[in-house]
């Protein structure tokens, strides 16, 4: 009995090691061939953001998948925390379909046309691309002098130039020049909120720091919900949200304004032959009513 046990142990361990070794080899092998052929009979692997994410809320709203407080995005979709996690998941999985900020698109993922329109800045500004949204900044109470200056800066020509640099779309292409350059400012500014708006404001904060080196701006990405809440309760100077505020929230804030526009792109793996979808198709896919890629291409 004991001898049996011992041999079992040795065999078990060896089997595990061998299995791992083989698996790795197969893994790389099939990965290479995978990028060449796309099997349309495979099921779709939906990738979504977590509940509460501004991108998810905006996306669900724009593809008509909302039902009161909850969205109708298939609960069986893989939920990923953050824009990059979604991008990576789709870039890695041949049969995945997800959605991400147009500003966060990269070469590893392929954006799909919506109603034949590419998700580009021009198309979004022109209003042709239908899945687009505002990047809002929010202020609750009185702003400190330095925070007020930063607020003005975001809506100035200089601030709007940054929006373009980081790959988003200016909310105001004819913004006035920044007038506060001569002010002698110092102190801290706290900004927090949407993970999607974060890179824009962070880049603006850097540009602002070049003008006012004594001002310390800390920008935190905590999510749109947290951005709105903290701007209302005063724990931050400026909140960021990648969705429009609901009536309840608008009542509680002093001002909310868009600093940039962003489109949400539906993304697939680069090997996916899919070119274009209608909003209804996107809606069908993300509510879980489409099971295989065959159903999409037809």
């Amino acid at each position: 009995m004991n001898t049996l046990f011992k041999w079992g142990a040795i065999l078990g361990t060896t089997a595990t090691l061998v299995a791992c070794g083989n698996g790795d080899a197969e893994g790389t092998g099939s990965n290479d061939s995978a990028s060449e052929e796309f099997d349309t009979s495979s099921s779709l692997h939906l990738v979504t953001r977590e509940v509460g994410s501004g991108t998810r809320d905006a996306f669900a709203e724009m593809i008509n998948l909302t039902d009161g407080d909850n969205d109708l995005i298939d609960p069986a979709a893989t939920a990923q925390q953050g824009t990059n996690a979604v991008n990576t998941t789709v870039a890695d999985d041949q049969y995945a379909i997800g959605y991400t900020s147009v500003g966060a698109l990269n070469d590893d993922i392929k954006p799909v046309q919506i109603d034949g329109v590419d998700p580009t800045a021009e198309n979004i500004l022109a209003g042709d691309y239908s899945i687009a949204r505002n990047f809002n900044v929010i202020r609750g109470d009185e702003l400190s002098e330095q925070a007020q200056a930063f607020w003005d800066f975001m809506f100035s020509a200089e601030g709007q130039a940054v929006v373009e640099e980081v790959g988003y779309i200016q909310s105001d292409t004819e913004a006035p020049a920044y007038e506060g350059s001569d002010l002698d400012l110092s102190g801290d500014i706290d900004v927090n909120g949407s993970t999607a708006v974060y890179p824009v404001v962070e880049a603006m904060a850097e540009a602002f720091g070049d003008i006012h080196p004594d001002v310390q701006i800390s920008v935190h990405s905590t999510g749109s919900g947290a951005g709105v809440t903290s701007a209302i309760d005063g724990t931050t100077d400026i909140g960021m949200a990648s969705r429009d505020l609901n009536d309840d929230e608008v009542d509680q804030v002093t001002e909310v304004a868009p600093i940039a526009l962003d489109g949400i792109a539906v993304i697939v793996h680069p090997s996916n032959p899919l070119e274009s979808l209608t909003v209804d198709q996107v809606s069908d896919i993300f509510s879980g009513n489409v099971s295989t890629w065959d159903d999409v291409s037809n």
Binding site: N2, T3, F5, K6, A9, G12, T13, T16, G23, D24, E26, G27, S30, N31, A34, H45, V47, E50, V51, G52, S53, G68, D69, N70, P75, A76, A77, T78, A79, Q80, Q81, A85, T88, T89, D92, D93, Y95, A96, T222, G223, S224, G225, A226, T229
Partner: protein
Amino acid sequence: MNDLKEKVAHGVFLLAAITSILSLVVIVIFIFTNGLPMMIDYGVFDFLLGTTWNRTTFGILPMIVGSIVVTIGAVLIGVPVGIFTAIFMAEFCPPSVYRFLKPAVNLMAGIPSILYGFFALRIIVPWVRDTFGGPGNSMLAAILLLGIMILPTIISLSESAIRSVPRSYYSGSIALGASKERSIFAVLVPAAKSGIFSSVVLGVGRAIGETMAVVMVAGNQPIMPRGLTQGVRTLTTNIVMEMAYASGQHRDALVATGVVLFVFVMLINGIFLYIKNKEAK
């Protein structure tokens, strides 16, 4: 003078003890006062046995089942590997290998969980996807990851349990004519079984509480687990996924998820203490 010194020292130690106890008490009070009213308000059974989770409906059965299944899976992988490694390290390992193996195991225990998560995301997830199909971010990926993560706990504690068995047991067994292997498996390991078992219990505790690594690979769907290659959401990942956005009852529901998790951890620690006490007798 000496008397005063004694008193001061006594005070310092007492203060230290009170600080740690107090923080525990505060945590317990916080979690329960925030979570319990929500559970009662919402209905304890609806909360614990409900299978739908969204912004207005809070049923955490999928996450309870998810946590339990993932933990059992991790134990099935981690315990045999861990215990055999411990036996190897305690009894078979040549000193030259042990010199590297021991620090390696300790290092494994010190690797931050987010790094385990990265590793799993880049290695385990694609492997699961290519080998078994499905999206890759799955229960199996989480199980494999946790199976590895609980190894150092199980190895270190099991090894010291085996080493703490009096050497005379082993010598006696050898003297009676048993082989080395037989002495180890029939005498040493059974004598160390309560220590080994408590290492398993602590491993379970680590597996059920792990958050950051799991959230990266598990898929995190708030629905009943549908199979090894499909995604799963655990109690911990449920909290970390949504805490940043939640407000109102949704937030309380997440704290109440913490209550359930806390009860699980208390159960596990209770079992651990019970075994320890039995061992002491």
